[in-house]
């Protein structure tokens, strides 16, 4: 299904990507304004964040002096411009809850989140494709009925319930897998340790995304069975396997690409919950900790990071879609 792209088409796709990137700029600026505005309007005093425990012991004069130095009494737009300026120059500020620069926190924790979310996404997509094709093929059969019923029921189960149930069954009941963490207590970080600890969180995150993906594959495949080219292939007497995998599946997969792109926010949401339940040392768990301690620099950086990921994800999905399907106009 990979088509060789003509030069015009390649240019058109490139133009689309550039246009979408340009459109992402105002969205990101607006996101930063919203986050900053929420912080500026909140009753929380940034000086408390700056001083931490010393806030109580510092005298009023010292506090006022700090306020002047930090420019906390300036109008909000000056504060915003200063904050955004340092953000753009790469200075993300210092995280109070971790006691180190925000950039270091991200560098330390981002790889673990990418590992977890990436594994989960691959697992979910692979399972969804397999089960989706199977259930659509055998539509109305026992397996189809069981799988769709379970998938519909799973749509109503939040990720943290899945996580707790998985811990209860596989970690506590059967003692197959560790309860939480990246490694056993005191053990060094090694491939064996991490992969054993990865199974449950990645599995739970995959299961929490699975129902939507699976039902979508099944549904678009069933719709594809009714299309002319598939009916034609069947009429020519091609084996069912060829018809399903080579004729129906490619058309059914196209909207699936978009769906995976639009599910990214849910993946982030799931990661926040799953990392927090399993004490996974990723950035998503850092969201909760920084929120608990009103660690604004880290919280703002993480929010913007999530927005970037979501925008890039939907851009990537659209580019892939346009590259794969020559019928789609590349001007969206």
């Amino acid at each position: 299904m990979i088509t060789r792209l003509g030069r015009d088409r390649r240019r058109a796709v490139g133009r689309m990507a550039v246009r979408r990137l340009l459109l992402a700029v105002p969205v990101l600026v607006l996101t930063s304004v919203v986050v900053f505005g929420l912080a500026a309007a909140s009753p929380f005093d940034p000086l408390v964040g700056y001083l931490g425990d010393r806030y109580l012991t510092a005298g009023a004069a010292e506090q006022q002096q700090l306020r002047d130095t930090l420019g906390l009494d300036d109008p909000w737009y000056e504060q915003y411009l200063r904050w955004a300026g340092s953000l753009l120059s790469g200075d993300l500020g210092t995280s109070r809850s971790y006691g180190q620069p925000v950039a270091d926190v991200l560098a330390e924790r981002l790889p673990w989140t990418v590992l977890l979310a990436g594994t989960a996404l691959v697992l979910a997509v692979a399972t969804a494709l397999m089960l989706g094709v199977w259930t659509a093929w055998r539509q109305g059969g026992v397996a189809d009925r069981v799988v769709t019923a379970v998938a519909h029921a799973l749509e109503g189960v939040p990720p943290f319930v899945v996580a707790l149930a998985a811990i209860g069954i596989f970690a506590l009941g059967l003692s197959w897998l560790p309860v939480a963490g990246l490694t056993d207590a005191g053990a060094a970080v090694s491939v064996g340790q991490v992969s054993r600890h990865l199974i449950l969180p990645a599995g739970v995150l995959a299961v929490s995304q699975l129902p939507w993906l699976l039902l979508h594959v099944r549904q678009s495949l069933i719709a594809a069975f009714g299309e002319d080219h598939v009916v034609g292939a069947r009429a020519r007497g091609l084996p069912a396997r060829t018809v399903v995998l080579r004729h129906a599946l490619p058309t059914a997969l196209l909207p699936f690409v978009t769906l995976v792109g639009t599910r990214l926010p849910e993946l982030v949401t799931g990661a926040i919950l799953v990392e927090s339940v399993f004490s996974w040392p990723g950035v998503a768990a850092a969201v909760v900790r920084s929120a608990m301690q009103v660690d604004f620099p880290l919280l703002a950086a993480l929010t913007l990071l999530a927005a970037v990921v979501v925008l890039l994800g939907s851009l990537l999905a659209d580019v892939v879609y346009t590259v794969l399907d020559p019928r789609v106009a590349a001007d969206g």
Binding site: Q139, P158, F160, G168, W212, I222, V268, L299, V310
Partner: protein, 313 residues
């Protein structure tokens, strides 16, 4: 191929779920000799959903009254006891009866979620109707705002809001309501845009109707069925959102029972082997979510029989 019935709506197995699934290509399976299963009609699904929901509401409202127990009542002698006749759902680590506590939690969660669903629907309808009706730069700005709210995962934005305005129910309600209006606004806007093309609107405008009049008399009544549907479908999301916040320790304070705080407590008691602290509150959460979703799906079939399900997930 006369038998291929495309775009026909049929029930889901189990009668639940957000998606309305179409049944194209049935010939394929008939050829394979599968049997037709008995399906629930939309009306039956609505009744089942409403009955389950009514049961939950009765449980949430009446049990705390009838039991005559305070859900915060600590009885250390009975701490961590398994489900029994005296405590049908068992007790937690402080000996609080979970049957009563779950009812109280369900009530709090449903109340907060209902409030949030209504607020964000009203907000979404107002924003969407104005954007669609006014058009121009107002529309463009509003749509950028919608993009922005959609670009940040809802739970993350909600966490930012509750973190900065800590410890009040208002903050929780705001955190949910302010993150869920965007899809409603987009839906209502597109509905209004298509209404603008209709002849009765042209007639009203050429008859001298003001923009405000057209919005109030022609646009708003036309989008009300959609808005009600949106509110119903938002309810399970709001329940989730509230329980997720409380579960993470960012929502209601731990002594206030909500489904989220109960599950947060279950995290620890689960390690001590008290499976019932997890099972019963999460059962209530899941059943409530699915019942509302079933009602929403049935209502959608009723008001919008030909429309493909919007992605509310």
């Amino acid at each position: 191929m006369a038998e291929v019935r495309t775009k026909e709506r049929t029930g889901d197995p189990g009668g639940v779920g957000f998606g309305g699934w179409f049944d194209a290509g049935r010939v394929w399976t008939r050829a394979r000799g599968s049997r037709r299963r008995a399906r629930l009609t939309a009306r039956q699904r609505l009744f089942v959903g409403i009955a389950v929901l009514a049961g939950l509401v009765v449980y949430a409202v009446l049990v705390p009254i009838i039991a005559g127990l305070d859900e915060r009542l600590v009885d250390l002698a009975a701490a961590g006891s398994a489900p029994s006749l005296e405590h049908p759902f068992g007790t937690d680590q402080a000996g609080r009866d979970l049957f009563v506590r779950t009812a109280a939690g369900l009530r709090v969660s449903l109340l907060i979620a209902g409030l949030c669903a209504v607020i964000s629907t009203v907000l979404g309808v107002a924003v969407g109707a104005v954007a669609g009706a006014v058009g121009g730069w107002v529309d463009r700005i509003v749509m950028r705002l919608v993009d922005t709210v959609n670009a940040v995962p809802h739970l993350l934005l909600g966490i930012v809001i509750v973190a900065l305005y800590r410890g009040s129910v208002v903050a929780i309600v705001a955190s949910i309501a302010l993150t869920h209006w965007a899809p409603v606004a987009r839906l209502i806007r597109s509905e209004v845009l298509s209404l603008r093309q209709r002849e009765f609107v042209d007639a009203a405008i050429s008859g001298g109707a003001s923009r405000r009049w057209v919005i109030r008399r022609h646009f708003l009544p036309a989008v009300i069925p959609q808005a009600v549907l949106a509110a119903v479908l938002l309810l399970p999301h709001a329940v989730w959102h509230e329980s997720a916040l409380s579960f993470l320790g960012l929502g209601l304070p731990p002594h206030r029972a909500s489904l989220g705080t109960l599950l947060d407590e279950a995290r620890e008691s689960l390690l001590l082997g008290s499976w019932w602290t997890l099972v019963f509150p999460s059962l209530m959460l899941v059943v409530a979510t699915l019942a509302v979703a079933a009602c929403g799906a049935a209502w959608r079939d009723h008001v919008l029989p030909r429309r493909r399900a919007e992605e509310w997930a």
